[in-house]
């Protein structure tokens, strides 16, 4: 079910995995995503909490340490594979877009 669920990633999913290439806590993830996307992608704390939980259950991230109420995470190999697959999918989309547009320009 988890594989099916994360076959394609939404923008928040993509950026969370991207940020977790380096160990960081949920609060840092929120700040990093906002900075990385220049506030284009905003993520509510409830949404982030649910996503971190789902990623962890799917084995795409792992908890690295708990300090008080703060929990830090790091992407796993499976998470990296999913992220890379999403990247390839986005490239395919871009390639198809380009091909179609070039065809249109030629006409």
């Amino acid at each position: 079910m988890a594989r099916e669920k994360f076959q394609t990633l939404t923008e928040p999913m993509f950026y969370i995995l991207l940020c977790l290439r380096e160990e960081c806590c949920g609060t840092d993830v929120m700040a990093r995503v906002a900075a990385l996307t220049h506030d284009r992608v905003t993520m509510g704390p409830g949404t982030l909490y649910n996503l971190l939980d789902s990623f962890q259950q799917a084995g795409m991230i792992r908890e690295t340490c708990v300090a008080g109420r703060k929990r830090s995470y790091l992407i796993t190999d499976k998470g990296r594979e999913t992220l890379a697959a999403e990247y390839r999918r986005l490239l395919e989309l871009t390639k198809d877009y380009k091909a179609c547009m070039e065809e249109e320009d030629l006409r």
């Binding site: 949920g26 609060t27 509510g44 409830g46 909490y49 109420r69």
Partner: protein, 466 residues
């Protein structure tokens, strides 16, 4: 000036938008939520303010946990960093507030919101609703069977059957409607979210209907108690009031037990097991104690008067005088030892009075027995149903000792009745009759030393108007 206020919560667990809007409106009026109990929500007075409320769900949360789970703490941390302050939680619902109007919303992905919500709903709300539906149907089963089979006698045979059946049927309807409502809402919301929209608002319809159904149940309960007073006397109504009070006491004590265990930091599983154990023990103690009091000390239903024992039988010191027909009336004899019992039951629509008398003349060893039951059906169809039921069972709950019981029609004229039947056991007539007048049905049996039945006298004493 009141500083705290309690309100009965009518929102359901998945009505996050309703809860958010309600809490914001309350804060604007100067009331802030302090604690969300299972049903009663406590508010404290504060300066009216524009406060945003938002709720999210944590599937791991439980009212049996000694404190917030790691997941809840993590959520609180995330929310705090986004400017949301935890208010309290209600089952799996986590309630936050902020005074910053531009704070990032708690949930920014509607599909994920629905998924998280459904996970929480499957954790407690849905199983609890299914269990309540099953219990309601179980308790309403007999009533439902009477309704389906059209057995009017069973339907109206007792106030308890009639009212508890209706109440449990209503509760079953409410639980079934709740389940349907949730799944319908989820289906419509999934479609809306799939099309890029948000979860659909619930609106006040469900809340109004459930509140109306619960109010109807309360009215029925009050009506039931009133009918018990009218038909069975205040003793029976008092009994049910005490029973109801004990039920609420049980709920209160069980909740206090769970709260105490939480305070003592008992684990979730220990809390559940101990709370359940306390629930069972208290239920047995309270209900058992009440039943013992009724049987042993005649609570609520009055003492039967003082008795004495003669020839191994308990006799009344002062036999009651309100019997419409006695053995003395029938035989003209004086009895030295008398025992009389009256049991009133039935319903407002079908009152039932069961009289029994045992009497022994001085120096004799064989006592006379007189038993009769009077029914006063409130409408003709109910009388027909009652007669059918009595004729079907032969006045007993089935054949005993493999004997065949049957009421055989006989001439009603000597009785002055509309119809008359005599009981036959294995083909031989017995001194037991089933008699019917408009609005009155009587079952009378004579036993012991009695052999003659003065029909006109019995009819005059037990017929309509007595």
């Amino acid at each position: 000036m009141k500083h705290t206020s309690y309100r009965w919560n009518t929102y359901c667990l998945y009505d996050y938008r309703g809860v958010e809007e309600h809490l914001s409106a309350m804060t604007a009026k100067g009331w802030r939520l302090e604690r969300a109990g299972n049903n009663l929500w406590k508010y404290r007075r504060a300066q009216p303010a524009e406060v945003l409320y938002a709720v999210t769900y944590s599937a791991g949360a439980s009212q049996f946990n000694p404190g917030p789970t790691q997941g809840q703490q993590s959520l609180e941390e995330l929310c705090a960093s986004a400017g949301w302050e935890k208010v309290c939680d209600w089952f799996q619902m986590q309630i936050f507030s902020t005074e910053n109007p531009s704070a990032v919303p708690l949930e920014t992905d509607e599909a994920l919101r629905l998924e998280g919500l459904h996970r929480s709903m499957r954790k407690s709300f849905l199983p609890t609703t299914v269990v309540l539906l099953a219990f309601s149907l179980l308790f309403a089963a007999s009533f439902l069977y009477s309704l389906i089979s059209g057995n009017m006698y069973r339907l109206f045979s007792s106030n308890a059957h009639l009212f508890s059946g209706t109440m449990f049927l209503l509760l079953a309807g409410l639980e079934a409607y709740t389940l349907w409502h949730y799944y319908h809402w989820r289906k419509v919301s999934l479609r809306a979210v799939g099309e890029g929209g948000t979860c659909v608002p619930l609106g006040p319809g469900y809340r109004r209907l459930s509140a109306a159904l619960l109010a109807l149940v309360a009215v029925l309960a009050a009506g039931y108690l009133l009918l018990e007073i009218l038909t069975g006397g205040s003793g029976r109504a008092l009994f049910y009031l005490v029973y109801l009070a004990l039920f609420f006491l049980l709920v209160f004590l069980v909740r206090r037990t769970s709260a105490l265990l939480r305070k003592l930091r008992a684990s979730k599983s220990v809390n559940i097991v101990l709370t359940l154990a306390v629930d069972v023990v208290l239920a047995i103690a309270l209900v058992g104690g009440l039943a013992y009091g009724v049987v042993r000390f005649h609570w609520f239903f009055g003492l039967e008067g003082e008795t004495y024992v003669y020839q191994h039988i308990e006799w009344d010191l002062s036999p009651r005088e309100d019997f419409p027909l006695t053995l003395t009336d029938l035989t003209g004899e004086h009895y030295a030892h008398i025992r009389r019992r009256l049991f009133e039951s039935g319903s407002f629509f079908l009152p039932e009075r069961e009289y029994s008398e045992t009497a022994l003349p001085q120096g004799e060893t064989e006592s006379g027995l007189l038993r009769y039951t009077l029914w006063d059906p409130k409408f003709p169809r109910l009388q027909q149903a009652l007669l059918r039921e009595q004729l079907k069972t032969g006045g007993y709950n089935g054949p005993l000792f493999d004997s065949h019981y049957a009421y055989v029609p006989e001439d009603p004229i000597p009785w002055g009745a509309e119809t008359a039947y005599r009981l036959h056991i294995d083909g031989s007539p017995k001194n037991a009759w089933l008699l019917a007048w408009p609005g009155r049905v009587v079952e009378v049996s004579l036993g012991g030393a009695l052999s003659e039945a003065p029909k006109a006298l019995i009819a005059a004493r037990l017929g309509p108007g007595t």
